[in-house]
Symmetry: C2
Subunit: 241 residues, 2 copies
Amino acid sequence: MASSDPVYLRVVADIRRQIVDGSLSPGASIPSRAQLTRKYGVGETAARHALRVLAAEGLIVGRVGSGHYVRAQPTLLPLHRWRFHDHHAPFGADIQSQGTRATWDWRTEPADATPDIAQRLRLEEFAAVTRTSYVFRGDGKPVQLATSYEPAEFGEPVAEENPRGLIPRLSALGVKITEIVEQVYTRVPQPAESDALALPAGVHVLHVERTHWAGDRPVETSDIVIPGDRFRLVYSHPLTP
Amino acid sequence: MASSDPVYLRVVADIRRQIVDGSLSPGASIPSRAQLTRKYGVGETAARHALRVLAAEGLIVGRVGSGHYVRAQPTLLPLHRWRFHDHHAPFGADIQSQGTRATWDWRTEPADATPDIAQRLRLEEFAAVTRTSYVFRGDGKPVQLATSYEPAEFGEPVAEENPRGLIPRLSALGVKITEIVEQVYTRVPQPAESDALALPAGVHVLHVERTHWAGDRPVETSDIVIPGDRFRLVYSHPLTP
DNA sequence: GGAGGCAATTTGGAACTCCAACTTTGAGGG
DNA sequence: CCCTCAAAGTTGGAGTTCCAAATTGCCTCC
């Protein structure tokens, strides 16, 4: 904390310290901005700025008319990525095995492959694909979004077949899945995603690009959007003897 | 965009749309706040607020005295998590294989296991462990931080032995690694991490908790901090016939 | 004891103003 | 053409003031 640093950073650092060292526990109230101006001898602008930074870090949350409060640090539910890949809805099976009631909606439609999807599926641009959009719910609240793309040649996953899952469905078509690859990164959610997932301000998502391979051919690719404040992803790698 | 929405959101949405649809390409300048007030008929506060939100989303970056500019969307270098686990520095080997010169520093010291580490290593609280802190550099710039913990009984990885890597080292001690588990989540970086990794404002990190298992015993656990604007993690899962 | 009303307080949005440090541009001179 | 300097403009920090919507606590009445 250099003496030339902006005053708001002094306020941020002090409050952050109290939160991190436990002096201010989850649910505890933070001084109002009027109180901060008096306590730290700063103006309202700096007080607001400090509160804004702390809120953006997810450490506090403001309630209109009431005040700011320390946020409980989220417990991140683990999603074991390879454990349920033979279920018809791996995510659903995972959180259900952890005691959360899981439901999901999906919508399937024919689409043209965007350049990105075409590349991932090694198709021509604008090739015909089948796009299936999912909303997964835990205890009734949306907790994950996913969009899956398959070459149109595999046909549309009709409603009765969908519960069978991708791997057996493609197997019945003579396509054997040999590998699943997931690429994980973090990003800012799009406004529609924030709305759909009821994300608190400042929360980023984990974005998983998952591709099913049959030998050296990609036969399905998905974009999965996972709230970064609710889940962590667990990957296991056994070592062969 | 409801008509009762704050005016700053109108500005945000308009500029975001231009960036997303390519009208404003990377490097393009954004109107200054004075220009925004005139263009959108809002006050300076709302103009600043809009710019602040866009900056927090990583879409623009402000340069003092110059203006705001559209940020190039980062190309995320893939880190193949299981490909180099038998190297002495898997991360280094990974980015080196992609053309980036990798170097790293580390520092080893005895420590007492915190409750979290004790739980992860199935040790008593405050049990003696060996803590090794790493700073990984790509082309001379820090690009990843990691802290590794081992039970103290394995001894201190002395400098000459470190290049051999964890798995052969423990193997020489009669401990056979049977599985590696990585848990991935995203979070706000701590100030020291932001400094160390030179993270732009608003960038979150991927945090990987990695544990090496020998049978049902955890024998090493690490916390790995990866800039969310530079890397993505790639996990592969072969399906057995 | 419970319900309702009211005052005080709070947050989030917003306006206007000022300032230091910095950048950019244009004019003038060599 | 190149260099210098001044003017204009920019960002980030900061202050003060106002307002709508919401919350909380206290008081009064039934």
